[in-house]
Symmetry: C2
Subunit: 357 residues, 2 copies
């Protein structure tokens, strides 16, 4: 079963319930965690026969709000939909968690309740971003960690390297470091220190600093950044995409001739819309924790939630996290310099998870 | 005369000379600083009658390269086009400097040679970014300072406030702080500390954290950020814009029907192209120094250089910097908390510049 934090997100619980229903209709077993009065009422509103679908409602009396400080939300709201879902994941009662709620709280909760991969200090949000030519760049971190240390960025690079190798079957993924210029002298202190660390790391195919344009031209396979810059990049790309499509829409208004022209262009524009639509991606994996946690957009609509659940289902069905963990640990064992002492100890203890759906 | 760093930029000196020629044809007096052999040769290549235009060539034997460390470039290359141009600006021999070269070096050179506005610790790159509806958001810093302190971001906010008031005649510009979420709990340490400072500052109309989407929806008049995040945002917007236009171009290939459709759409797409074309902006002011220094894009083409020179000319003709400095100093005098002790002393000394073209 996939546990859904039904109370998390700008349009929760309505669009979350709707998205979960859509996924359940495709035979994915979902658990809706949240206020049962609201959840039952929405389920009946959307589908009078919902009880025939593989849906379970798990009542939780609390909600971690978007405005809650992450750690406080997790520590104080033991009966919140998020904490309950993550606890069930840690105990093996569910196989994955999907949340569109407070991403800081999802991070803290995952670390505290589900646990990190040995050697990884901070889990990070990673996802493929496609360009117009069909090339995909795996971007990590897209928003989990607003302040990072250079060693943590190298750990992101290692996770991105393993992830891309596994899913894109690239022998040696080209890794770029997000900066304000291609030159090695460019970047913040963080970027400069990370650059030096990555350069001294022969197992990674580090090609140097890259700029946001390289997300679109297929020059790299993995883009490493702290979560603040990565998030600004992601949200700017989305904002620009939305702004241009609105401009196009406006341009085809005002005269019959223009409206007619717009009509003929519809198919082209709708494919353009799909190409960069973040709802199609649905959600992203929180890489670095011991079980699949999927972070969906705060403003996810029902379709996005459905896609995030499908994504979670795929990851559990392929037993992805269990195959992802060993090569990451192997990497880190060889390069304990970037692992803090406390974490280094854990590297040699064996971790085993069995999470089939 | 406007001094042009003819050796700075990815396409220098060729596109810089070409852009300067175009500006000179519009009766703007320009000084081309750089290697005279190359400059004369290019001038004759572009226009056999260039000597009739208001162009002066100032020979300099050195170049601050893009790969030079900023401070070393400035301190060691005394006869570089950039250092000579900035020195002439500081001595009043020219009225403004335009450079598409190493922006870090332009910053350091401006601070050392031209001097800062009293109370301002770090000059910043500020510019209006238009959205599709014609609203303009003044963004500061777009790339001068990769690492900042909260007090410096407040100083950027003050400069943005004065700039927007002067040029857009808004009584109380809405100021937003770039973050990874609207909630006050979101953001890096830098953002959180800056948020607290800005909130305690009643003279500024601070509306809180904003996301990149707010650049496109007209919700704010001034967007404050450190130069790293601001630069990532700017370059992502440009990259996405370019990627979408390429997608559109591709979509109209493949069949006669599509090509024909593309032909009818040309006018609409070209206006879309212009709307966000960074070459139209040309260059941005380095705010916080005592005379007009204009930073152009590293990859500026001739048209961009021409526009940057026109922009510089306009700023000198309207005596902009001299009108900009007093209200900034006045602001800072009232709020010495955000000014370091060393800078506070300078606040009370009078600074005078007379820079008419």
């Amino acid at each position: 079963m996939i546990a859904i934090d039904a109370m998390g997100g700008d349009f929760a619980p309505r669009s979350v319930v709707q998205g979960a229903l859509q996924a359940a209709r495709k035979n994915i077993k979902v658990g809706l965690y949240g206020d049962q009065v609201q959840l039952f009422s929405l389920l009946y509103e959307f589908d009078l026969n919902w009880e025939k679908l593989p849906i379970e409602v798990v009542h939780c009396s609390q909600v971690v709000e978007m405005t809650d400080i992450a750690s406080k939300g997790i520590l104080k709201k033991k009966d919140s939909s998020l904490v309950r879902a993550l606890t069930d994941l840690s105990q093996g009662a569910v196989q994955a968690v999907v949340s569109a709620g407070n991403s800081g709280a999802v991070l803290v909760g995952s670390v505290l309740l589900v646990g990190r991969i040995a050697g990884i200090e901070r889990p990070a949000i990673g996802h493929f971003i496609p360009n117009a030519q069909g090339h995909q760049t795996f971007c990590i971190d897209l928003g989990a960690n607003t302040d990072c240390r250079p060693e943590q960025l190298v750990q992101f690079a290692i996770m991105g390297n393993v992830y891309t190798k596994m899913l894109q079957h690239i022998t040696s993924p080209r890794i770029g470091l997000l900066s304000n210029g291609h030159e090695s002298c460019k970047g913040s202190h963080l970027v400069k220190e990370t650059f030096a660390l990555l350069e001294s790391y022969p197992e990674l195919n580090f090609i140097g600093n890259v700029e946001p344009i390289d997300l679109f031209n297929g020059r790299i396979d993995v883009l490493v950044s702290d979560g603040f810059s990565g998030n600004i990049m992601l949200k700017t790309a989305e904002g620009m995409h939305k702004a241009i499509l609105e401009s196009i829409e406006q341009a085809y208004q005002g005269s019959i001739w223009r409206s007619l022209l717009g009509f003929f262009n519809q198919k082209i524009f709708s494919s353009l819309h799909d190409q960069f639509d973040n709802n199609r991606l649905g959600g992203a994996l929180l890489l670095g924790v011991n079980a699949p946690v999927i972070v969906a957009h705060g403003n996810a609509n029902a379709w996005a939630i459905e896609n995030a659940i499908k994504f979670a289902y795929k990851k559990t069905k392929t037993n992805f996290i269990n195959r992802f963990i060993p090569p990451v640990i192997e990497h880190l064992k060889n390069h304990t310099l970037i692992v803090s002492e406390m974490n280094a100890k854990n590297l040699h203890s064996t971790i085993k998870f069995d999470r089939s759906v």
